[in-house]
Subunit: 330 residues, 2 copies
């Protein structure tokens, strides 16, 4: 079968023929119809990810059809499925176990014609979505779902700020929050992305390259109940002042740097919460799919690439030009 | 009546005769038997507190006997009471309202022979405590209770680190956590305070002036489920690494400075929570008193001063020499 392989540090994105795997007990083989890229895949290509292993087939997100099923793998054969890439979460809802792993490193992932997974991670493909749309959901959608609902406990009417709305998680954060009845504000480095966010239901947006972005947001929103900021970096020091009392600040990355020095006083006096989060549990994945079905949400797709040209999708991600998900179609 | 008055920035601690107040509707006059100092009172004397107003009688904490009751103030007359100094909390458990105030600024406080309070803030004095012990509880005990139980959701068996155990809140944090079945570790700047903490049930302690304090703690405890650190300052950047996955870091002050620059990765990957908190609700005050009664906890008193010599108590607090509460007896 064809696959996109992390071959070595020098050749991180190689399109090549590899052996098609065979499912063991409890496993299935999924013929991948569409897969999606995540920021994680990019970090792996540049060596900035823990536990890199050569060779590995890329890809956490995938949707497809089960073509082979091992013993005890249930009745998934010939079914259209979506894969939860959050594996071995463990017994504690609050945090992942030491055995936690994400599909696509160390295990071979979805950027291939076939992928091997345990049947427990299969879910029926949402009926209202095509293959590309379904494949866009798993990693980013789950991360956004846990961040907003489990961690920040979003409720109708909350004012939500999404810092840096362009990427996959950003658009899901926006779509989930809008569907849940929040009033959503965004920041972005380009006017185009702010306009696109408004089309998805954002109330207003501010360009974070403008020096008075924080003052603009205060003027627009008053204050925020929830801020999702996985950029971090120097600008993060304005976030506590933007929050309403009881505000929750959630993050699952730090693309712009560290948490900078912060004055503790507004944080304790306003009883703010700074909450780290990552991926999610099986229950959250299930709840996310139900939420998507209830609200008939269609993920935003930036561009679709053939498997042979997946390297172009990685290049586009490097420049953060995309709005929505980058999809690879088999 | 005699009182300790914040007279002016130049004369912040003045022992003098002032008018005895008269209770209006819903109010009572409490003859104060004992009062306690808090770090807040010290910050007020040095002008480092928001909303300073001259003149004001100091003191958030007090226990005494109701000698006069206004119309509609219930049947508190001649009862032995403890005062909840957390006033006008408001409708949201998660944060205090804009009208929130702490007894002893702007309203006249407990460092006087009599104090006027609304009857809704009265609670029966815990039967197993004398006046000094009861007076030690309110502000610091409530703050510690909310920090550990409401915010950090302490449960039996949790490993808890209390940074800087000497002061009033520190000893309450220790006593509450030990009584709740946690394994408690402390840091302090002196060996004496660590020994005193062990007598109160601390499992082990480390001197934070030693360069390898963090490594020592890791060796002793493995990792912490809860860290209470209201010192903040440069050393705080080691706290996330000391936490177990799912760990909660709580703070209600910053005596050593700001939150320093922090690497976001251990915070989001371990799903840590950094939680600001302050004081507490009426329900938490009630729960705290029930907890104290159930476990027959006796607050730690460092020293008792007569009202006329309250300035000496302030001086002792300035040097952070105390272990437990500084009490003023009428």
């Amino acid at each position: 079968m064809k696959a996109i392989v992390l071959e070595s540090a020098e050749n991180p994105i190689v399109y090549k023929e590899v052996d098609k795997p065979t499912p063991g007990p409890g496993e299935v083989l999924v013929q991948v119809k569409a897969a999606a890229l995540n920021r994680r895949d990019y970090w792996i290509t540049v060596g900035k990810y823990a536990g890199i292993k050569y060779p590995t087939i890329f890809g956490a997100d995938g949707a497809g059809i089960v073509t082979e099923a091992g013993e005890g793998a249930g009745d998934w054969l010939n079914k259209e499925v979506l894969i939860n890439p959050s594996h071995n979460w463990g017994d504690h809802d609050d945090f992942q176990s030491k055995d936690f792993k994400i599909l696509g490193l160390p295990d071979d992932g979805t950027l291939a014609e076939y992928v091997l997974v345990k049947a427990e991670y299969l879910y029926p493909k949402p009926a209202h979505l095509n293959w590309e749309q379904a494949a866009a959901l798993p990693l980013a959608g789950l991360t956004a779902y846990r961040a907003l609902f489990t961690k920040a406990r979003l409720k109708k009417g909350d004012k939500v700020l999404i810092v840096g709305v362009g990427a996959g998680t950003g658009t899901f954060l926006l779509q989930w929050a809008v569907a849940a009845g929040a009033q959503v504000f965004v920041t972005s480095g380009t006017a185009e992305k702010i306009e696109q966010a408004k089309l998805l239901g954002a109330f207003a947006g501010v360009n974070y390259k403008e020096q008075d972005w924080a003052e603009q947001l205060t003027k627009l929103a008053g204050g925020f109940d929830i801020v999702v900021d996985s950029a971090l970096g120097p600008d993060f020091n304005k976030i506590p002042d933007l929050c309403n009392p009881g505000g929750r600040i959630v993050f699952f990355g730090g693309t712009a740097g560290n948490i900078p020095e912060l004055n503790g006083r507004p944080i304790f006096w306003k009883q703010l919460q700074i909450l780290g989060t990552t991926m999610g549990t099986q229950a959250e994945f299930k709840a996310m799919l139900e939420f998507v079905a209830t609200h008939q949400i269609v993920p935003v797709i930036d561009e679709v690439f053939p498997l042979a040209e997946a390297a172009k999708a990685f290049a586009k991600m490097e420049n953060s030009k995309q709005f929505g998900k980058l999809i690879v179609k088999m």
